[in-house]
């Protein structure tokens, strides 16, 4: 077909090709204007469409960014609310545990102060007053003796009496002083006790003060978050990414644990559901083992929800405490039953493996019967323990799962934003490229038909030169023969009419 076309005009392909080329050039020359329009309009249309598309993507990106921001804010606010709640719970604990007994403490301190005051007052140093008759004695003693022996004797007696009275007073004073010292000595442990009590109170108040500072800080962050502070947004985004990777890592570990669990119970499951039935391409026993593991994970989720550690199911979190506790007990019991079943399945697996081993040995020509190795019980016990522990370990998957789900929302949002941005840029670039390409194609088109174009240009330039020359001639004639010009213009008017 192609060869026929190539030799349509001549037996010589070269000549035929030349004819085709000429025809093509002629056709292209004839349709030059239309082709230019098609190329220009196509390029322009594509450019406009791509520009619109890019703008639409930009708008979508903006919406998505806002949505991401809302999600981040919601997640951050949720975390902060939890942190503030936790701080308040701690404050509540401190107040109810330590400061709950404050009235008793206050009474104790007050009693101690009263006692100290009383003791202090009792310990006041009041010198003993001399007897009231001493003034009279002093007056008598001041009477001149005048050598009268009777008077002297009386005075001596008075002197002795006075001295004995002073000695007694001094003794009384010393006794009182000792008593006061004893009382003051007794005050010392009370002061110490008071100091200790006050130190304790100070510690508790300091703790409360610390907590209140934390709460203040959280509240500040919360306020900043509400105000849409960019620093906080960046911190939240970084935290979300960190959470995504960490929880993803923990989930991978959990999946590996689940696989080990699956291996433990898949084989003995065939004892229950049979080893021959298949659902699709999967063994029914494998599916049954998988279902048990999934149920364990589901129970773990409910357990964590009931403990209010996770918040994946708001309906569980919002249950009243009695119902929640019931749910907690039920899920824990189911989990324990499943763990026990897994432990027994793990033991059964060991028995089956031993039986199979014995059969293989007998088939290989070895001794028949179950091989009883000395420490054969160790792996059996180990498998049983693993079978019991793994379901509980899997129950904790709920925690990284929640983090992963929450962080995935923001991370996916970020990825979508980036993808949209890239697509928008590519769309814009491709629109511009096509627009320029259409211009290049127009030039290329003209390049192909450059010979007729050159000819056209020559003809046009000749025509214009001729026209110019004619106009000049006319002007010249006008200058020389004005009436002829008038006549000519009259002709033109007539022709127009």
């Amino acid at each position: 077909m192609n060869i026929d076309l190539l030799t349509l005009w001549s037996e010589q392909p070269g000549i035929s090709l030349l004819v085709w080329l000429i025809i093509l050039i002629v056709i292209m020359y004839c349709g030059r204007k239309q082709a230019h329009q098609v190329l220009y309009s196509t390029g322009r249309a594509f450019y406009s469409v791509m520009r619109l598309f890019s703008k639409a993507l930009g708008k979508m990106e903006q919406q998505l960014t806002e949505r991401n921001r809302d999600i981040l804010l919601a997640a951050g606010a949720d975390n902060l609310e939890r942190a503030i709640e936790r701080e308040f719970v701690r404050v509540n604990t401190v107040i109810s545990r330590d400061l709950g007994a404050y009235p008793a403490l206050h009474r104790q301190i007050s009693d101690a102060i009263d006692k100290i005051e009383k003791d202090y007052q009792e310990a006041t140093d009041s010198p003993p007053l001399p007897p009231a008759w001493l003034d009279a004695v002093e007056s008598i003693a001041a009477i001149p003796r005048s050598g009268d022996p009777a008077v002297c004797k009386i005075l001596k007696n008075i002197h002795k009496t006075v001295e004995s009275a002073y000695r007694e007073t001094e003794k009384e004073f010393q006794k009182n002083t000792l008593e006061r010292h004893r009382l003051l000595g007794g005050l010392q442990p009370m002061w110490r006790s008071m100091t200790q009590t006050m130190n304790k109170v100070k510690g508790k108040i300091d703790n409360l003060d610390e907590r209140s500072k934390h709460i203040d800080q959280h509240m500040d962050n919360y306020e900043k978050m509400r105000a849409g502070d960019q620093d906080i947004m960046r911190v939240l985004a970084a935290s979300s990414l960190t959470q995504f990777f960490i929880s993803g890592l923990v989930l991978i570990v959990a999946i590996l644990g689940g696989l080990i669990n699956f291996q433990l119970i898949a084989m003995p499951m065939s004892e229950m559901v049979g080893g021959t039935s298949y659902i699709g391409s999967l063994k029914t026993s494998d599916i049954a083992a998988l279902v048990i593991i999934l149920i364990e994970i589901a129970m773990g989720l409910f357990l964590m929800e009931s403990l209010r550690i996770t918040r994946l199911f708001p309906i569980i979190g919002s249950m009243d405490d009695t119902m929640r506790k019931r749910m907690l007990i039920i899920t824990f019991v189911i989990l324990t039953i499943l763990a026990s079943i897994e432990a027994s399945l793990a033991y059964m697996r060991d028995l089956l493996a031993m039986d199979r081993e014995a059969l293989n040995q007998s088939l290989a020509g070895g001794a028949t019967g179950v091989v009883e190795a000395q420490f054969r019980w160790i792996p059996s016990i180990g498998q049983m323990i693993m079978g019991f522990i793994l379901p509980f370990a899997l129950a904790f998957v709920a925690i990284p799962l929640e983090s992963f789900i929450h962080s995935t929302r923001t991370v996916l949002g970020m990825i979508f934003v980036t993808v949209l941005r890239v697509i928008a840029i590519v769309a814009r670039l491709s629109g511009s490229f096509i627009n320029h390409l259409s211009k290049m194609l127009v030039s290329a088109y003209d390049l192909i038909i450059m010979i007729p174009l050159t000819l056209e240009k020559l003809i046009v330039s000749q025509q214009s030169a001729y026209k110019k020359k004619r106009e000049e001639d006319l002007l010249y004639q006008h200058d020389n023969e004005p009436y002829r010009v008038e006549k000519l213009s009259g002709n033109v008017t007539e022709e127009k009419a």
Partner: protein, 228 residues
């Protein structure tokens, strides 16, 4: 102690059974795939070949180790008239529970070992075609997805006068494998006899719709049946 073990083994069955029943009933509407395999081993007990029977035990051990719960196996002898149920030495379809299947395998092995020990004299004739017919009948009855006939013989058919076996064998979808095809004295004189004999059997099996292969080295049984 045994009762405790049984109790431990039974505990999960009692507890999980309702759950599994629920699962089975939920998924019961789905497609249940039949992956079972059935193997029929024909042992040549003719005079020239009967001394090779000890090697057949190797094949049986391989089969027992390879086959699983739900699979079927039968071992039959090739004698003067092999198209008969009486020639089946031992047959079994392994239980769904692996532990029971293991017990069946042990019993199976004991039976065949006993047969090989008590086998004193070989048959006068060799009716391989009759054995193949019997094998096909058994295999189709099992309804297995994968059907194998293993012929442990020198493939030298020697029919009783009057027995008619010259017709197409119905072996559609059956994999026929000739094992340990020993060379006869005459084959050594003219090896073309041996090759011709193999070719004849190949044509016959393939005309019947079966697949043909020869494995003479019993150490290469690994790929005979794909292990699951």
């Amino acid at each position: 102690m045994k009762s405790i073990i049984h109790l431990i083994m039974a505990a999960p069955i009692i507890t999980i059974a309702p759950l599994i029943f629920l699962l089975m009933s939920l998924t019961g509407c789905g497609e249940i795939k039949n992956n079972n395999r059935a193997v029929y081993l024909l042992l040549d007990t003719s005079g020239t070949y009967s001394k090779e029977l000890s090697k057949a035990q190797l094949i049986m051990n391989y089969l027992l180790a390879t086959l699983d719960s739900g699979d079927s196996i039968a071992i039959a002898r090739i004698d003067s008239g092999s198209f008969s149920e009486k020639d089946i030495i031992v047959k079994a379809t392994f239980d769904q529970r692996p532990s029971t299947a293991n017990s069946q395998k042990r019993k199976f092995k004991e039976t065949l070992d006993g047969f090989v020990k008590t086998m004193s004299r070989g048959s006068n004739h060799t009716d391989i075609s009759g054995g193949l017919l019997q094998a096909a009948e058994y295999l189709y009855e099992t309804g297995a997805a994968e059907k194998h006939v293993l012929i442990f013989s020198d493939l030298e058919e020697d029919l009783v006068k009057g027995h008619i076996r010259k017709f197409d064998l119905p072996l559609d979808g059956i994999h026929v494998s000739a094992l340990n095809v020993t060379k006869l004295r005459s084959d050594n004189v003219d090896p073309r006899d041996y090759l011709k004999r193999l070719e004849q059997w190949q044509n016959r099996i393939q005309e019947g719709g079966g697949e043909w292969r020869v494995i003479n080295d019993l150490e290469r049984l690994d790929n005979l049946i794909v292990q699951r």
